[in-house]
Subunit: 345 residues, 4 copies
């Protein structure tokens, strides 16, 4: 971290600042230029904030060089993390995870039937919403625990690991028991109480990027979970909010290689939520593979026009299968594989 001192700073104030920095455990490298003094901090700055120094009135600017995350940082773990989901499914490095399913779980039969089709088409995990974060209090809020039970029936039938969204700490224990991957939605990416609680489990976590979160803030939220001891974090890019209104969100495809450079954690792409409209999903899914993603999350519904939520951004099973055929060709070019289910009934 480099601190840039104002030109007219009194020597006594500079000395106070320097001694406070040293008390905080850093070595100080002070450089007095013709016009200004610059102070470099030597030591592990991942645990201090720029604001810890901006508050001094003699400070003009603070420039962070070391990233503020450590456990999520590629500099501290060179190799890609590979996270074991269950039933033979892994994500990370050459293991490509394909997660598909309806926005909301609706009923047992349709869910099991769909899961079978998805598995046949090439998915190796099943997503389904049971607790739904809806913008309006008047919208359908999900089947709750009943939805999780239905997903488990589908898992029994197909072996597909289950991914479902948790919205608060209240149902954490239920989720630990009943799902394979706990998904944290974009709106909860900085729900720090929830992140801390997840750090106390060892469940794989899908951590969706907040709609206006920088990649650095996203990795800081991963760090919250990892700081608690749970390293099984999967990043999910699902589009960011920009001025463009032609699409629901702007898929930040560059976030894939950027996150992979900064972090060893796997990153998967959710084109359904980024696009918010069905026709964009296939091209964006293919683009994501070639951008280097470690997986995809895609909404699929047998009959999108009658889906209970988000039908406008669902593929049909047939469209999904057609997409997977191309995806598999691309994965071969990329040297990646979708792990087969190893069901242990």
């Amino acid at each position: 971290m480099i601190i840039h001192v104002k030109r007219d700073a009194a020597e006594s104030n500079i000395k106070t600042l320097v001694s406070n920095i040293e008390e905080a455990g850093f070595k100080v490298h002070r450089s007095d230029g013709e016009r200004r003094t610059i102070i470099g901090l030597i030591g592990d700055t991942s645990k201090v904030s720029e604001n810890d120094f901006k508050k001094y009135s003699i400070v003009d600017g603070v420039y962070r060089i070391q990233k503020p995350y450590k456990k999520a940082n590629r500099s501290f773990q060179e190799d890609d993390s590979v996270i074991d989901i269950s039933n033979g499914v892994k994500v990370g490095a050459e293991n490509f995870m394909v997660c598909a399913g309806p926005c909301s779980v609706e009923d047992l039969d349709s869910t099991v039937e769909l899961a079978i089709k998805l598995k046949d088409a090439g998915a190796n995990s099943l997503r389904g919403g049971a607790f739904k974060p809806r913008t309006s209090p008047y919208s359908f809020q999900g089947l709750g625990v009943e939805g999780l039970k239905i997903l488990n029936e589908a898992k029994k039938e197909t072996g597909l690991p289950i991914v479902s969204e948790l919205m608060g700490t209240d149902h954490l224990d239920t989720f630990v028991d009943m799902v394979d991957v706990i998904q944290i939605g974009a709106r909860n990416m900085q729900n720090f109480d929830l992140l801390k609680a997840l750090g106390q489990t060892d469940k794989p976590i899908y951590l969706k990027r907040g709609m206006s979160a920088t990649i650095q803030e996203w990795l800081m939220s991963a760090e919250y979970i990892m700081a608690g001891g749970n390293n099984n974090v999967v990043l999910v890019e699902r589009g960011i909010r920009t001025f463009e209104t032609a699409t629901r969100n702007t898929l930040d495809i560059q976030a894939v290689p950027v996150a992979q450079k900064e972090s060893h954690l796997p990153i998967i792409v959710d084109p359904s939520h980024a696009a918010g409209v069905r026709y964009l999903i296939p091209s964006m899914a293919k683009a994501a593979v070639m951008a280097g993603a470690n997986g995809l999350q895609i909404e699929v519904h047998e009959d999108p026009e009658n889906a209970w939520s988000d039908g406008q951004q669902c593929l049909t099973p047939a469209e999904f299968k057609e997409l997977m055929d191309t995806i598999n060709v691309l994965l071969e070019i990329e040297g990646k594989t979708v792990n087969k289910i190893v069901q242990t009934k």
Copy 2:
């Protein structure tokens, strides 16, 4: 709500759509133009979503006319809401609320001493962080319940109602007991589980705008709380995230009159968090008053350079007093008053 049907839509599909709309309880106004059919929904559309219709493949666009919120909607309550905080302090209409205090509560003596100065300078409520949402898991996380106790001591001394941030449902009961206003931070604006729980209380809520929330989404979050039965919602504008990096956030000053046009709820402005830097606070506070705000929330610390958090965006008590002198002149022009504390020890 107006639904725009694609040009080549088959009549049978249009009929299915129309009958589904009618089943949902709406009257339909169908208009067949030369090239396209347009369908108008007549009835209360606040409880349906655009996506409920976008999912049909024959639909090209859906245009919402009635706003999706009802209890927060100015159309359903013409008069400004006035919310009673406690000890004579109200907010809304001509009642202007001035809330000041440190980012984090640090210790008893400094907090009480500061509260006395703030009251003398013209504040009529005291803010202080006890549970802190910090981007980094390694930053100071607040004193917790101990902090709330200290705030209550300051209230005993000064009569100033207390505003403090709640981060999750776990401590809700404690907050209902110990604070006058529960603040919900920007990062939790769409923590729907938390919003629902707040709806079950009758506490005044400061609902901060999410960093990338539209004004409509913000009002939908207010609606979540109000749908549960708690109408005591105060909107807090604290800056939105944009491309500009010269300031921490961009204060959306236009949001003040826009929210007041759309909703009867009071809106206050927090220039400290928008600016993220001390020198901008006075001019932005004055601008907020003339924009028509119903209150201000300002961070003040006896010694910003030694504040435990966010010292860079704190005024000193003397600076705050100087600012309040001008604010009071402006409030007179605006016909507003800061209610005096009516302490009932």
Copy 3:
């Protein structure tokens, strides 16, 4: 276009509005609901603006259904436009254009040498800046006409059509004589005087998307050129400005299929300017192909560390060749071809 009238509007005001609309040449479809009147315009609304009606005080909202562009609109031309560049190079439909070269033209020998390598690696056009739009008045502003002469020498040698940026109307004639494609930079996307002048030529135009331009505004700028009679417009996505600072701009990869749905014009992707950093270019170029782009524009420099501008976002010729090998495999999957140069010296 649908006009939503305020609830309390007087009948006489509605009648004035209706008769003004009719005078403007539209048929009016008026629908009086229980609470409000809605007015539909029937006719070609591509030449009126929402603001033409928002200015009436009885109007609450105006919803555009027909897009405001016509010549660029896919509805008015179903087939993809194919634009003939020169020397056998086309862009559009299955013709994929690969344009590569240095940010700034520096000298004759290096440019010719590089052009030969680019052609060998698979490029079929040569880009090079002669007039440079630089943020700082103190930065190198390009070689000017001298740069165009050098590019023409390289064309003589290789047959590669030339793409170069024009910054104002002053040099338009020179560009018409000396380049094959006139590039309009992001900062000039709404330089309407320049767009009108381009409409008077028949040169192919690379129209870069403005940094904060919506896809609709971009197509409106294409419409400006086409309204003048020049239909040879190629859209270039080069990243938009968002809150994310990890990359120079955010590549809006979804813009590719969206623009192709809305318009028949070809769209190519420039990953160099979006990323602003070298390591992202290969993955983003591959993603662009699978997103359905009709071409790529990539900065290449023999020795990026000594480039006169933008070296940080250049590939070396060897890196470019390696990338093209994969691109060619992907183009086969997509059913597209890079046309060979048919040089007619």
Copy 4:
């Protein structure tokens, strides 16, 4: 400027970098930490770019400390610039400029009549569009030179200096002859050819902020004009593009004090274009005064419903007068004055 070298950089590469920096005229301060080398540049860095060093593969980051603008920089001129417009009107420091008028000039009589009312209400300059930048090629493009003549008639009558927008270099001479202030629109803020040409005149320039321009980029555009020798630049904040769609743009009110801290140039606020809707103008104009602005630009039309363009964001003369009455009270608090017209017919 501080350059942060990658950890594994070879000493020979560091030496090359250092010697290149020295050749460019800087002294180098090199600091070798335990893990990395940091290089500080000592000298005037306003004429180099971060990218001049990012292009080296051993460089990890470049941090600019000195701002890249010099003539616009408050550090190089402590006192506020005061710009003399004409007829006694100045802008800057305590001189507050009020510029009002129609979006488009329509005809002689209405323009003169309006100008008289505006002067009576307290305006001290007249704006009016003659050449109009319109998003659609099919919209009214302005009366052209005829419009400028009409404005001059209004000036003869009232003495009000004239402000009008120039869209390209073609009509520069005409504007130098016929207007008092040349306005450069948001879309041309980075039309560098135009900025250079303006630098060759000595006309006062209203430089509107680009819709997605940072404050730094805006000041760099001012620097372009000043680098040519014309120091008469007035900054105009007119709203930036964000995700919020409730208003046309987001008025960045913080830009007022930020620009004033970074630069000595005057800054005025245009609430009409930011809001895009009439009802927001009065509150935003008042907020702008208290934010410290040096002037206002407001659209006024005798009959907004029949304005030829932008009627939705115009005040009537009566509304404008009412607003000016409050503005004058606020200016007294701020210690500023609107200069009276000193007409020399």
